[in-house]
Symmetry: D2
Subunit: 181 residues, 4 copies
């Protein structure tokens, strides 16, 4: 996998690599490896999430891509665009929220019973600093999953250029509900 | 002011009408009336907010328009578009959040000292039901404004068609900070 | 019902009075009136909530009393005590949170199916100003109730003395989940 | 330092030990070591926080003790008591919230400019499971500190007995504001 600069500085934490699907950063397709995961194979889970992601008009509209799907963790990448700006030229909190909400929802889906879909009941987000950068990465992680509710934490990292360190621009805490399909 | 169907069913609550600027719903320009408001005229406040709104790439991208500016209350309208959907075809929580966050921010700005700009520090949003409708209206209202922090409540209403009653699809509680320009 | 000064200034809003149980403010017991309410009489609902309230060690420890039970709205009163202070002598945010969380939970219970109990999944609270006063009143209201989740808004009002106007010191938005008993 | 059972299972994470003040768990006084920390010695910071903690009526009322003060992290311990219960006998969410709000506030204070005091502007808390246990430990950590606002994350761990593993019962995300004394 050949990844351009900004992605090299990104290191996905705490993942059991056998259960990870990872897209190229950007534009290079990764591949899934099989594993036993809640009686559903990783490739099944990844396919389900990728299909769902691709059915989202908003993700295409903002230019977001699904970057990583692992058990309890999903990443979504977003390049900067003027079409996403707020009045000072930074990325609008709404665009930042859109990708990290989506990342948290799919992270919860990786832990949901196979017969369930997920809905975000609510979230809270702190905007830590202006969303200034060339690329953004939203990371959603499951903190606790129950039969009915899943609690996720999310963050959005801003990358200013090739090889640069990131800054965390937003922090989310979300409650997602399992609903029977 | 001639407004098309969905807007007729919308009744802006609790506004002193002399301090209200209101756009047509949709496409018909309203006009501001003068008033004494923090030593800044309503038309000044409205112009400042309209200019800021128009400088937001994201608001144009999602198709939102500024509908009403009053002291402590701002409305933003959003027609349904497939480009804003989540995977089931409803409007994505991120788009809903984008408009109500913006409405709360500008509502706070109407109460901020003239030398200050505002930044959203954080918000929490409950998504009460799927965002299903033809038009959406985000309403941001100041609940309490201090020297430093303003607390707003926001809601998003969904309208299914001409003359229909609305349903509240989202409820927000936001903290906005005054920063010197 | 004879109520001392601070309570006279309190006016419970938007209640259908036939469905309201109200305690004296303070110390004088009110009484419930019968009504048809989710196939459970008001006196049943009130009794269930009063019994539950009285089983809470914390409510007795902080000195809180149940003031009003109505469909979708519950009030809890708390007199000032040094035993509840934070370091500057005001009432601690934790005590303020305790009563408004409880008020929201019981408000949700008035809307829950008879076979269900309720649990607070999460809440967010803004502390608008120091909790300075002689008496406090927490008001929990149901904003939206679904089969599974109920969203409540809560506020805490501070009363400085007999006949005084109140100030809102805290604002809550809470998600409560119905669970089968 | 000799600590009884429940504390042995507790391992404070990610602390530079030279900047840590730690109480015995329970009842054995720890001691501070000097360090250079925002031009204020650790013992100064600890003394300021301990004095403030001891001035809180509510912390004494619920039986909480200050367990650890480090740069950006504060712990507060709470033994189970029936006086803190909700209606099912677990510890009330309000008591859980009280200790983790306090822990977050003091964590923020360790990062505040020396001339500032801190106030909690708002927080959001998810209650992950019933607060069932013999001892509880609230951990507040600074995630981001700016000139004006500090964002903390907090959690509350429940310990069921000597040497037992803990369960996280609550997760908080809080915004704390620096105010000049």
């Amino acid at each position: 996998m050949e990844a351009s600069g900004w992605a090299k500085s990104y290191n996905p934490p705490n993942l059991r690599r056998t259960s990870v699907w990872r897209a190229g950063y950007p534009g290079v397709q990764g591949h899934a490896t099989k594993h036993d995961w809640q009686r559903t194979s990783m490739s099944d889970i990844h396919k389900r999430i990728a299909d769902s992601f691709n059915a989202q008009g908003l993700m295409a509209t903002v230019g977001a891509t699904l970057s990583l799907v692992a058990e309890g963790e999903v990443h979504i990448a977003l390049p900067f665009s003027k079409a996403l700006s707020q009045q000072h030229g930074y990325v609008h909190a709404g665009a930042i929220t859109s990708i990290v909400d989506t990342a948290c929802g799919y992270a919860a889906l990786t832990k949901a019973p196979p017969e369930c879909d997920v809905l975000t009941a609510e979230f809270k987000i702190n905007l830590l600093r202006p969303a200034l950068g060339e690329h953004f990465l939203a990371i959603g992680r499951v903190l606790n999953s129950g039969k009915l509710l899943t609690v996720c934490t999310g963050e959005v990292r801003a990358f200013s250029g090739a090889g640069s360190a990131h800054k965390v621009v937003a922090l989310m805490q979300a409650t997602i509900v399992n609903v029977r399909r």
